[in-house]
Symmetry: C2
């Protein structure tokens, strides 16, 4: 009996997968990209702008034309539901439809449109599912207009966050709450529903935004989790003085001290290469920043990420040691600005997604999927706190993202949607 049910779920999943239409998906991506489309191929569609509201209306119309029920929640997250045979918790897929100030046509949009393509494929295959299949377009994943990012998904999981988000203002002093109310008012025909709905699971399909799959020559990645990250600021205070008249032995050169610290940090990162620790010293402010004046103050940031939180904790200790050792070279202050533990997706979800990716790759005579970790944040990071969650990656050409030149081969986009259809349908049948 259990065996028969599993076999039936597999057959339904295969039917859905086999009805995914690559050309229809390609056209849907091009159509959505026209909202905020740029002549260089990029897309400018920051969250809750007029352009974003038009794109949202376009998605609502498209989903309704496929027979979906459309709902919206208090954070303007949009849900498109293909009803199941039961009222058991739904299976959710999707991503976000907003972009960076200058982004590409795939980051986020691909996951939403591949989700709708899965519903279309289920319709075409004319197969019912036990659970409803829902596609979501999360609000403000990018965080470029209103920080932080992932507002929609994090408020869905923890509705108490919304009140704080509403007060955040953009560069024109428009509050997120105000922009949100405008978006909700623009959809009087869309029924409201509560945040934090029970879910059977969430699967997010996304471009990798890095070079790992492309380097491996593999079209599909099973994402095992999202790296742990810590952000720090180091402030080094020395004494600005004349570059010509001040002997080396009496200097308090904030840049010389900073370079020593940075050198030690890069060396430590090299030692931890096997743990795939990633270290970036991205922002530097040097004062007075004059060719013939000894730097009196330097501030620099540390972005360090690792899938293994123990390695990151060890790096934190080493960092504090290095700052302590060099403190005599100038007054040094270390401040942790942000930290986020790693996200590990549930084992049974990895198994399911791997099966889905393997089947899609195999049918296309392509190499089997590999397991990868995500270096960037995604809405799935928050959903993993709420329900069994997984992600599928497709390659990004040249590893480029947040860039008008963002691109993925059509055949890879199709494979990703096929794997998604299989995984979502299997879950919806159980």
């Amino acid at each position: 009996m259990e065996h028969t049910k599993q076999e039936l779920a597999r057959q339904t999943a295969q039917a859905a997968q086999d009805h995914v239409d690559g050309e229809r998906l390609r056209l849907a991506i091009a159509e959505l990209a026209s909202f905020g489309g740029r002549s260089d191929g990029g897309v400018s569609r920051e969250t809750l702008t007029d352009t974003d509201l038009k794109a949202r209306r376009h998605l609502v119309d498209r989903a309704r034309s496929m027979g979906c029920v459309v709902e919206i929640d208090d954070c303007a997250n949009l849900f498109f539901r293909r009803a199941g045979q039961s009222d058991l918790p739904s299976v959710l897929t999707g991503s976000h439809a907003d972009t960076q100030p200058v982004g590409g046509k795939l980051d986020g949009a691909y996951g939403v449109l591949a989700g709708l393509e899965v519903i279309q494929a289920l319709n075409d295959a004319a197969v019912p599912t036990l659970r409803s299949v829902e596609v979501v377009a999360w609000t403000n994943e990018e965080g470029s207009r209103f920080g932080p990012g992932c507002m929609g998904s994090s408020a869905f999981v923890e509705p108490a966050r919304l009140a704080g988000y509403r007060a955040v203002v953009d560069g024109n002093q428009v509050a997120f709450g105000e922009a949100l109310d405008r978006a909700l008012e623009a959809m009087p025909d869309v029924p409201r529903r509560a945040l934090r709905q029970p879910l059977a699971g969430f699967v997010e399909l996304h471009i990798e935004q890095g070079p790992v799959l492309e380097h491996a020559g593999v079209p599909l990645g099973v994402v095992t989790g999202i790296q742990s990250v810590r952000w720090y600021r180091v402030q080094v205070t020395g004494v600005a003085a004349h570059a010509g008249t001040t002997p080396m032995e009496v200097r308090a050169d904030a840049m010389a001290a900073s370079v020593e610290v940075a050198h030690c940090l890069y060396a430590e990162a090299a030692k931890l290469a096997a743990s795939q620790l990633r270290l970036t010293l991205g922002r530097w402010v040097v004062s007075p920043n004059s060719i013939n004046t000894i730097p009196g103050a330097v501030e620099f940031t540390i972005d360090v990420r690792c899938v293994d939180e123990q390695v990151l904790a060890g790096f934190d200790r080493t960092l504090r040691d290095i700052i302590g050792t060099n403190a005599g070279r100038g007054r040094m202050a270390l401040e942790c600005l942000f930290e986020r533990p790693p996200t590990r997706f549930a084992q049974e979800m990895l198994t399911l997604v791997e099966e889905a990716c393997t089947r899609a790759s195999h049918l296309a005579c392509r190499p089997p999927p590999i397991r990868v970790t995500s270096g960037a944040f995604h809405d799935a990071m928050y959903l993993a706190e709420h329900c069994p969650t997984a992600m599928i990656f497709v390659p990004s050409q040249g590893g480029l993202s947040h860039n008008a030149a963002e691109e993925t081969a059509h055949e890879d986009l199709l494979l990703g949607a096929q794997a998604l259809a299989y995984a979502v349908t299997r879950m919806a049948c159980a």
Copy 2:
């Protein structure tokens, strides 16, 4: 006969030195500081501004009241002459009266006013000199309004430079030539004279602008020369990419490459500590300068100085080796922006200045002078190309200069003027 002449010159020099009046000098400094004086004790008197023109008029009136002949040349350098018994080339002292946008009351002004105090002392002692004693106020030593600095002294030595200087514009698009003509027109009562006059010698008294004398606890420094300097710009080009998604092994991190180069340069400077090489990496521009983006481009400057040009040439070779070794870590370009060989003052001038400083210190029961090199440029650097030249330094409290807080103890300012009176008078009697 020769012995008698020397003994007479020494006695005249001693008489001049003994008639230097510290209180009169202190008041003269305070009076000149009122032109552009700030409530924080600093002075804002950039070259050829209305404030500077008023200060120049004040100096002309003061010199005339002491019986001096006043002249001006095509670069608006002002000369105040106490006539000698012969028309042999004059002995010149002085410095500059312009300041940085926010400078102190001593940088430059001290040398000019101490020169006038020497003339006053000669008058009070009622001693004649064989050669005329002249005090100069050079135009635009600072170079902050019109670059480069030392325009007046360098045009005096090499008049052909003036045509190029005249075309230089300030931040308000006013040409140096225009400002110069205004200054000359403001002095219709002052006779014009040619640039590049023959001179028996030049002695410049100046604050040290560094901490060496203060650290040594010595009030007078015999300046043996001015360091050699080279300025470079290093441009490192990598690839900007996402700090989270880009594995370390595929990065081209322009900051990581720059830190390695900087680390090697500081290490090389430490090896050359015995040669008193001074290294400053003062100006940094990091792009895109974002906490979670790998730096795609970094530009930094190198200011390196040494009294020994061979050491500097060796550093240049090492620098090129280091850039070459690290070139694989990002595209690196090295450009030399400026270089100036060292200035070495003539041996007989050092002997004379040392004798002058020793006598002044001895009479005041203070430690004898030490020999120091100048890390900063001064008008004396150019004069050394033209005639026997020397400099005397007095301490700067805390090594501070180009700063409203610039300060030197009154007793040190007096000792400097006494040493100057001795040295100038000895030369004027020979």
